[in-house]
């Protein structure tokens, strides 16, 4: 079956997508408090120079997320 969502690592540079939901409750608590909300538009700015982290933009706010933090955010196709 085809996946109904994708995650930040699936995005191309400067591509953006709407947030659908979170997979991890603890990370969801942290991310939502920082303003990463379902329905928010996330843009991938660039991966970290050595990898394993992403520079993203959410509604004009710039955030650095680890791979697993980024992967816990489900985005629309």
């Amino acid at each position: 079956m085809q996946r109904r969502y994708r995650t930040i690592p699936d995005l191309k540079l400067n591509e953006s997508a709407l947030t659908l939901a979170f997979t991890d409750p603890a990370l969801a608590g942290k991310l939502t408090a920082m303003g990463v909300l379902p329905g928010a538009r996330i843009e991938l700015v660039r991966p970290a120079p050595f990898g394993k982290a992403y520079y993203i933009k959410v509604d004009g706010v710039r955030l650095a997320l680890r791979e697993e933090e980024a992967a816990s955010i489900l985005l629309e196709i």
């Binding site: 608590g29 982290a53 004009g60 710039r62 650095a64």
Partner: protein
């Protein structure tokens, strides 16, 4: 203004990270602030005096920045701890909530949580100047109406409307604020829990009751019985804390986002900004790390040359004072304690102040500008490989000045293991106290080598320290276990010019932390060392002195005679006895009892090594001259007489003490050994037990011993 019991009223300043809260704090209090410590926990807290236009005064408390009352790191936990406990010493009578006006939609979650705690609150929309420039218009009247709280547009940078904020706050304190219905009505499942907590623990506020249930496992003020009651309630109601937190957060956003949109006029398109253009370089795949290393190189060169210049000033200035005091006092034990114990101790503290101030000045500027967050982002992966967090990089850089304030800065790391590892390995980074020791030892180890070789070895010492730090961290990573979650999730703030008042105050705070933490201990140990060096078994010191006088050549100068007496007295003292007692233990490293004494005295601060060596080699009167000449000499040409004496010294068997092997062995020992009592004291404070500092002392010194032994064993003794 005072409360019923006559104490000053307490106002807490609160807001998200990057809301410009500290700028507002500095604007409100200026220099009328101090850093205190929350009792029982190890988070420093800034406290200042607030003066209202009408002349009333109140205490202003700066709470750590946090996004919500559901904390993840130890400094965020403070906010929840203080605000859920009306008995807390810092429980405020009113709050000033600082929000970034340029991004209000992301800054009000915590605000609405605080509304539900029923505390009188003023909403301060900070950065109003930047918001106005960006074309953002806020209808404060409407906002105030919708939230039923006073709202003031301010700018911490320009000081705009700060007086108005104080005025609103004073009005609020007099009226006590309007009683308003909860912003977030609890869901059924939450209400059941909250009701049960209110009933069983007699808590008056429903939201506070809910927070107690959420955080019952760690809130430090809960007595055992209440903790158990809360746990029982959570269990019987089958309360899903994490899910409830997320639901609450989303619900709050749903409620306040429309309010923000109705009261704020924001230009819809966001142009590619200055910050984005800069980040294209600073976080670039190749340029990012390169620029970082370039910046660090510049920072450490600035420190080194800064040390050279300012160290000389302090040395000369304080030596002059010591001389004046020494000459005006009669020659007795008290004068000696003062001029050879207390004052050199103070001098040892002061010598480091300019360099520590300089390094923290540079770090603070990088932090204020917004660069540090990028460094954390770039190196998070690297640091994690060694069991640390991207945030550890800030501590490791700070360790280049002094481990004491650097270790205190690890509190932003939420994961206990990552934080502990950072605390444990930061002292491996070569701090400024090691510089003078390296400068003596490198030319002693390699007298014939070129200036460039010596400079390279000097740089290599920093690299060696860093390697040791990362290596040890890697081992700890394999050993330690924790179930604490680890986060990066970090906001990368917009680049801004540093706010200089913030910079100066932060540097001042770090210097105070050094003087208060390390300084006191350096002073105490200097005094203890003076006692060890100036007392001995009965009559031993007098005998030593008389021996020198009776055997000395008749034509010897007074200075030389005094120097010889000082050296022999030190040898006969308890310090000398300790040095000789430990000689068998340090002989395998190539050290004689004289180095033993120097190692002992390095417990005050590593640089005391030099001073002790001067005394021991009968050069006490030369020490001051060479110290003050040092700033006019190239780094490895300093301390010439001392090095000459050391070079000609031999063991009993006639073999030279200072060979390549001993020199390198000593360099390695000074790079690795835990010799700093001040660091151990701060580690104890930060980890809450003696277990970790004792362990740190043992493993660092053990590693130092092993590596020094290997170096001495395998290097040529020439």
């Amino acid at each position: 203004m005072n409360d019923h019991s006559g104490k000053l009223l307490k106002i807490a300043l609160i807001g998200n990270p990057n809301s410009g809260k500290s700028t507002v704090f500095n604007q409100l209090t200026g220099l009328r602030q101090k850093t205190g410590n929350f009792p029982g926990v190890t988070v420093d807290m800034k406290e200042g005096r607030l003066r209202f236009p009408s002349g009333f005064e109140a205490t202003l408390i700066d709470l750590p920045g946090t996004y919500s009352l559901y904390p993840t790191s130890s400094d965020e936990k403070i906010v929840t701890t203080v605000l859920t406990n009306p008995q807390d010493d810092f429980y405020p009578d009113a709050l000033v909530y600082v929000a970034d006006a340029t991004n209000l939609e992301k800054h009000l979650l915590l605000f609405t949580q605080l509304l539900d705690l029923d505390l009188p609150i003023v909403l301060a929309l900070n950065m109003s100047d930047t918001a106005a420039e960006a074309g953002i218009k806020v209808n404060t009247t409407k906002l105030a109406e919708r939230f039923s709280v006073p709202v003031v547009s301010i700018s911490g940078r320009t000081g705009e409307n700060i007086q108005k904020l104080l005025h609103e706050l004073e009005k609020l304190l007099k009226t006590g604020g309007a009683s308003i219905p909860p912003f977030y009505p609890l869901r059924d499942s939450e209400k059941q829990v909250s009701d049960a907590v209110q009933l069983n623990l007699s808590v008056d506020n429903p939201y506070r009751a809910l927070l107690l249930a959420h955080h019952h496992s760690w809130l430090p003020f809960l007595p055992k019985q209440e903790r158990e009651t809360l746990a029982a309630i959570v269990q019987t109601k089958n309360f899903q804390s994490l899910k409830a937190q997320v639901d609450e957060t989303l619900d709050r956003f749903d409620r306040f986002t429309p309010i923000v949109r109705q009261t704020i006029l924001q230009p819809s398109v966001e142009p590619a900004t200055f910050t984005d253009r800069i980040d294209a370089f600073l976080t670039h795949r190749w340029f990012g790390p390169l620029i970082f290393f370039g910046v660090m190189l510049l920072v450490f060169m600035a420190i080194f040359f800064g040390y050279d210049i300012t160290g000389g000033w302090v040395e000369n200035g304080t030596s002059a004072i010591v001389d004046i005091i020494g000459n005006s006092l009669p020659d007795n034990w008290f004068a000696s304690l003062l001029t050879k114990g207390v004052l050199p101790g103070l001098q040892g503290v002061l010598v480091f102040v300019p360099q520590i101030a300089l390094l923290f000045l540079l770090i603070t500027i990088l932090e204020e500008v917004g660069y540090m967050a990028r460094a954390v982002f770039i190196f998070d992966k690297t640091m994690r490989r060694f069991g640390m967090n991207g945030r550890s990089i800030v501590a490791l850089i700070g360790g280049g000045a002094c481990a004491v304030p650097a270790i205190m800065g690890t509190r932003t790391i939420s994961n206990w293991k990552e934080r502990l590892i950072t605390v444990m390995v930061t002292p491996f980074i070569s701090c400024s106290a090691r510089i003078p020791v390296y400068l003596v030892l490198i030319p002693v180890a390699l007298p014939a080598s070129s200036w460039w070789t010596k400079a390279l070895i000097f740089g290599g010492m920093y690299f060696f320290g860093l390697t040791a730090a990362l290596g040890a961290a890697f081992v700890f990573k394999k050993i330690l276990r924790t179930s604490d979650p680890s986060y990066l999730a970090l906001e990368l703030p917009v680049y801004r010019m540093p706010h200089w008042k913030n910079v100066w105050l932060t540097v001042w705070e770090k210097v105070k932390a050094f003087i208060g933490g390390a300084g006191k201990i350096i002073l105490y140990i200097s005094i203890a060392l003076w006692i060890l060096g100036n007392s001995g078994p009965s009559g031993a010191l007098e005998n030593a002195e008389n021996n020198v006088r009776s055997t000395a050549a008749a034509d010897i100068s007074q200075d030389s005679l005094n120097d010889m007496i000082a050296a022999k007295r030190l040898e006969a003292s308890f310090a000398g006895i300790i040095g000789k007692t430990i000689e068998p233990a340090i002989l395998p490293l190539g050290y004689d009892w004289k180095i033993g004494i120097a190692l002992l005295s390095s417990f005050a601060a590593r640089e005391v090594f030099n001073g002790t060596m001067y005394t021991i080699y009968s050069l006490e009167s030369v020490a001051e001259i060479e110290e003050s000449e040092a700033q006019n000499q190239r780094p490895f040409e300093r301390y010439g007489r001392l090095r000459q004496q050391m070079a000609s010294d031999t063991f009993d068997n006639g073999q030279h003490v200072y060979t390549l092997a001993t020199g390198i062995s000593l360099l390695i020992f000074y790079a690795l050994a835990m010799q700093c009592m001040s660091t151990l004291a701060v580690v104890r404070r930060e980890t809450g037990s003696w277990k970790w500092p004792v362990f740190q002392f043992l493993f660092m010194s053990g590693l130092a011993y092993l590596c020094a032994w290997l170096a001495y064993t395998f290097l040529p003794k020439v």
